[in-house]
Symmetry: C2
Subunit: 714 residues, 2 copies
């Protein structure tokens, strides 16, 4: 790619961003868009309509950015939660390393690269290939490469130091959040699976007996899991219907009467209220019947609650039975975070599902090569010309060339990529995770490796993808092949940052699809009630891999093509402000992991560093500087040792809380006056929502649920 | 190697074995050899001299073998302990798999191999190359290879089933041993390291405070570790001297007076008793001074004891502090098993030592190639002839050729190998293990991989060792290279089993070195006292890898050259009887691991199976049967899955005991009348023996140790 094409791309994307920002500034002030741009505030009932004059509403102001910027870390943490805080730390961390990297790269490495004459790029500035700004342009055997060598060492050192302090900071925040938390059911509970139920016995009794026997002083209560997937569908139906019914009850719209035929256009006129009530009654009856039948379908799994956090930790950490495949314990997730459908499976089946999910994920990752290879063809125009000679004259037009090489491939790639996170969520949920947060975490890792493999490696090793991929079978050749291929793709990735990164950030702010959906809703359905309004939650499994991929690009290209860094810095600056704004106004966390995404970020950064080292080893080999190549070798080893140390020093904090914290919190509870209320709540916290008694009253519009079915009775 | 050479080797070794057995049968009955052939019984004072007439003493009988055979498993377990029991199960397991393998191999595979004509070995039976009995002789593309294919599947299946049942059996024995054990200090104690001691505080107080705070109901006592390596040397000296003194006191030999000059030959005559007593007094004073100074040199580590096993398990399993590098817990070893020298090190230093030990172990393993390559030269006579043309006429003599190719290489190799176990013990003790049993376990794994690498791989890939070793950098080529090389070395390994295996077993029985030492002792020192007699303990780290290596040979060569199996069966039969005899009569276990060597055996067998599969994949490729090659692929995958299942199902039992067992044992203790005595013993069980007060009385010959220094006082 030449410089002009890059500038075109930058121009287009800056324009797009500017349009998005302006539109956002205006649209967010319109009362009707409140549920799109501030659903969190609507949900928490902090913001109501009005308060601004009509003129102000039409002005594009930047007060939202100022607000986002001015919120302190403590305020942000208490409002958005630890996970959102950790998410924002990715931006802070990236800004730190790339500010340092940018200064070194642009002021020291870039001039050295430009001074080289390896590529003999004599064209004028506009037509200069981006490659002349990369390390490829430095002359072979030049002593200037030692500056790159030092830069690799210094940069790795700085990144590792920052990683260490960041890990320490986030660990301390995690502990602080735990200390400041109220008693919560998931701190007091564990999930037990693989309960050995002899024929003729009842799971509940076995659980009761086991824990009364071995944890008599701390055992509190338990809730056996039941096979309820059919019931869940019924309950969802009933709830939807009930919502519609209350809606109808409130409104005095003429829509209350409707024909009962196709699409409500033909057939007899019926009173909708009567119709819905009748259906609801039927469903409620079905639910009750099904609940009774489900009551017997016990799964050999139970949520067991304890009187103290430390009691739960004891049962969690010490293997219960002589047979380690029985009484397998796991920390219980938050009650609203439990993923119910996957409980009805045995140890072996869960194990096989995990394997299947793993294989499927790998197959998907590899098969995705096909669209990537097609897209990659677009940035090699010559290949396209030989394939479709008819297009030759069109392809030779300057603007077409620039759009095609600079913009189109990435757009198509992004379209394909948007299918990946939902698929990975599906695979992760197949895998036997017991909570939504675990599913999201596992999907996050999957999407991350998918992205790295499919965007980085296959783009880098493309040209003749399938041939070059055999390099993975010959590890010896790895640095050489990467050193040839990676710098050559620098221009593609700069374009990728500008196009995909910037636009993505801007569209995150603009929320196009919710906005359209909102307008459709207003036009066709009328203003909806805010009572049953649900604010969206941020899909970490989609966002984190995206951001980490930019980190990977920055780290690997720091030595090779530092020109990428300013574009990345713009991305991270924009991202910092915009995601802060979104997390404060738009997203509401449905469940918390307590910052457990950070280890993924840490590992990915270490991976990026190692990848950078491998490429640099190859580059120095290629540039006839074998001594530098050999002297880089200690760097990946030291980095891995550093990672190992961090894993020992910080990772355990993200797996479980230590005795010290647990006992301190338990002692605090003893002075808490509401503990008996909490224990009552704890006893029913993990009852399957689908099994909760259902009783919808008729016309009054009042709903109440009465406890008909109690676990301990069954 | 030709058949005649093999037969020579078998002849020589059978002869040697026969001589050893006969000599053993006679020598063991001589009263003076009691401490060589039945030290265990002497140690336990079960057997005294006499009881047999002079004639009987000179007859070679096989009653020892009958006795060893007739001991039941329960008797053996209660006499020799669980570790010895597990050790014997290796023989039982190997006999089972190779009996099955031998039947299939000799009756089905061997005839098929002989029927082939790939090698065109038309020589007479005596000069037939051993290769014609291997799979190399089957014609390329022959459908008979499908029988080998089925054999690989069936054999793997049988081995896996037997592995499963063996693991299950040993797990159950481990649990049963735990149930039947008396209260033992190491069940109630943990070792804590990385205690954060602020400047000016005292470690003992910190430990006391921490456990009083977080484990108030179960904490019992603690013993801080002190830096005592210098002191240990002094104490050892004192004890040696004291022994000699008591010996002199008892004897009324004329040796009491001796000259004080060089070697006791020159200088003044002194009374030895006076001399020793004076020296002992000096040393004892030094010890006391050193003990006082050591008392202040606390290491931030302590043995902490609890009132119950479950209490210890809680403190062990739940991370104590917010900083995971502080308060690191580990199960305490038996008090006599503690390896004291390595306590005085920090978290980081232990980590670095571990790394250094790891690197050193690898370097040693690789450098060992040099002697192996030299030895390997001997079995390629042609190479030797070209290197030393002068030897040509000698080398052409039939008997020389047979001895050199069949016997000498292995003898030299064995000589080199005998240095390896002590070196590995040294590396393992550097590594920061806290007990002798851990050191032995870790050394066992090291010696095992060393053996597999240096005897299997380098022999197989020799010829041009260094060239072929590059195969490890190209995993794709791996099966092909192995398939070429492994069958070619079948004859070497058959000779190895016959020479090294058989002789080794026979010499184990004969105990040549202790026997010689015993005679020297009798002749020069006179009959020693049995009071301070110490029975040897079996060096598992040397024996287990040896046996497992024969397992590996059997498994990998089962399909390729089944001719090896009868020789292996002889080895395992002899081994079973002889080691049983030795464990019952010779060795006394100084410390117990509770059968923790079995997981190593299991993993090694799985490794052997996978190696066999890889070789078979290569063989089928080479034999132009790509379909069979592809259809073998699921086999290693299934084997690995099986291994993973076993790891989940059984391995946790070998790491720690479950709640169920711990609580049951704790409840039993409540009815135990001697518990308060045990608790008193527990409080001082982990005091450093070097720090124990020393008081040796003079002439009376009575020794007693008085508690002068108490941990809690310091």
């Amino acid at each position: 790619m030449i410089l002009a094409a890059l500038l075109t791309s930058v121009g287009i994307n800056l324009g797009l961003c500017f349009i998005f920002f302006t539109l956002y500034s205006i649209l967010r002030k319109q009362p009707c868009n409140l549920s799109v741009y501030a659903p969190r505030l609507v949900f928490e009932r902090k913001r109501q309509e009005g308060g601004q004059s009509n003129l102000e509403r039409l002005l594009a102001t930047t007060d939202w950015a100022r607000e986002a910027w001015e919120t302190t870390e403590e305020e942000f943490l208490s409002t958005a939660g630890l996970d959102a805080f950790v998410f924002m730390r990715i931006f802070v961390f990236s800004l730190k390393i790339f500010t340092f990297g940018g200064i070194v790269g642009l002021l020291i490495l870039l001039p050295i690269n430009c001074m080289g004459s390896q590529l003999r790029d004599e064209s004028d500035f506009q037509n200069k290939s981006l490659d002349s700004f990369s390390i490829s342009n430095v002359n072979n055997g030049s002593n200037r490469l030692w500056i790159h060598f030092c830069a690799a060492y210094v940069f790795t050192g700085v990144v590792c130091i920052l990683l260490y302090y960041e890990y320490e900071y986030i660990s301390s925040k995690r502990i602080a959040c735990f200390y400041s938390s109220k008693p919560e059911p998931h701190h007091f509970s564990i999930l037990v699976r693989g309960i050995p139920v002899p024929v003729g016995s009842n799971c509940s009794d076995i659980v009761e007996h086991f824990f009364q026997e071995y944890h008599p002083s701390t055992y509190h209560s338990h809730a056996v899991v039941r096979r309820s997937s059919k019931l869940q569908i019924l309950v969802t139906d009933a709830e939807r219907l009930y919502k519609r019914l209350t809606q109808l009850n409130k409104d005095n719209t003429p829509q209350r009467q409707r024909r009962d035929g196709c699409l409500g256009l033909f057939g007899h006129k019926v009173d909708m209220l009567d119709h819905y009530e009748k259906t609801l009654g039927d469903i409620a009856d079905n639910v009750r019947i099904e609940q009774c039948s489900v009551a017997g379908k016990e799964v050999p799994a139970a949520f067991v609650s304890f009187k103290s956090r430390f009691g739960a930790a004891i049962a969690l950490n010490i293997q219960g039975s002589v047979n380690p495949t029985h009484w397998i314990t796991e920390q219980a997730p938050e009650p609203q975070d439990v993923y119910w459908p996957f409980f009805s499976v045995t140890f072996i089946r869960r194990w096989i599902s995990k394997l299947v999910a793993y294989v499927a994920c790998n197959v998907l990752t590899i098969l995705f090569l096909i669209p990537v290879a097609l897209v990659q063809g677009l940035s090699h125009l010559e290949q396209l010309e030989t394939m479709f000679p008819a297009l030759k004259c069109i392809l030779r037009t300057a603007i077409v060339t620039q759009v095609i090489t600079g913009y189109l491939p990435i757009l198509i790639l992004q379209m394909f990529l948007s299918f990946v996170p939902p698929i990975m969520i599906m695979l992760s949920s197949l895998q036997g995770c017991i909570s939504w947060s675990q599913i999201q975490k596992s999907a996050c890792t999957k999407v991350l490796w998918f992205t790295i493999w499919n965007i980085f490696f296959t783009n880098v090793l493309s040209g003749s993808v399938f041939y070059r991929l055999t390099v993975f079978l010959e590890p010896k050749e790895f640095p050489r092949v990467l050193a040839e291929a990676v710098p050559a793709q620098a221009s593609f990735f700069i374009a990728y940052v500008v196009t995909f990164g910037w636009t993505n950030i801007a569209s995150e702010l603009f929320q196009l699809i919710p906005l359209l959906y909102n307008y459709i809703n207003i036009i066709f359905v009328g203003d909806s009630d805010t009572d049953d309004f649900e604010a969206p939650s941020i899909p970490y499994h989609r966002e984190i891999p995206r951001i980490l991929f930019f980190d990977l690009l920055g780290v690997t290209y720091f030595v090779l093509a530092p020109l990428i860094l300013p574009f990345l810095l713009v991305y991270f600056c924009l991202g910092y402000i915009i995601y802060r704004n979104q997390l404060l106004n738009v997203y509401v966390a449905k469940y918390h992991t307590g910052g457990e995404f950070w280890p993924t970020v840490h590992n990915c950064t270490i991976f990026s560093l190692i990848l950078m080292h491998i490429i640099v080893i190859g580059i120095f080999g290629q540039k006839k500087l074998p001594l530098a190549s050999a002297l880089i070798l200690p760097l990946p080893i030291l980095t891995l040792l550093f990672n190992e140390y961090c894993r020992k020093r910080f990772f355990p904090i993200f797996k479980a809380f230590p005795t010290e914290c647990l006992i301190k919190k338990d002692r605090e509870d003893q002075n808490e006056p509401n503990m008996s209320e909490f224990y009552d709540k704890l006893a029913i916290a993990y009852n399957d929502p689908a099994l909760m008694p259902i009783k919808y009253s008729g016309r009054g519009g009042n709903s109440h649920r009465l406890p008909l079915l109690n676990n301990s009775e069954v």
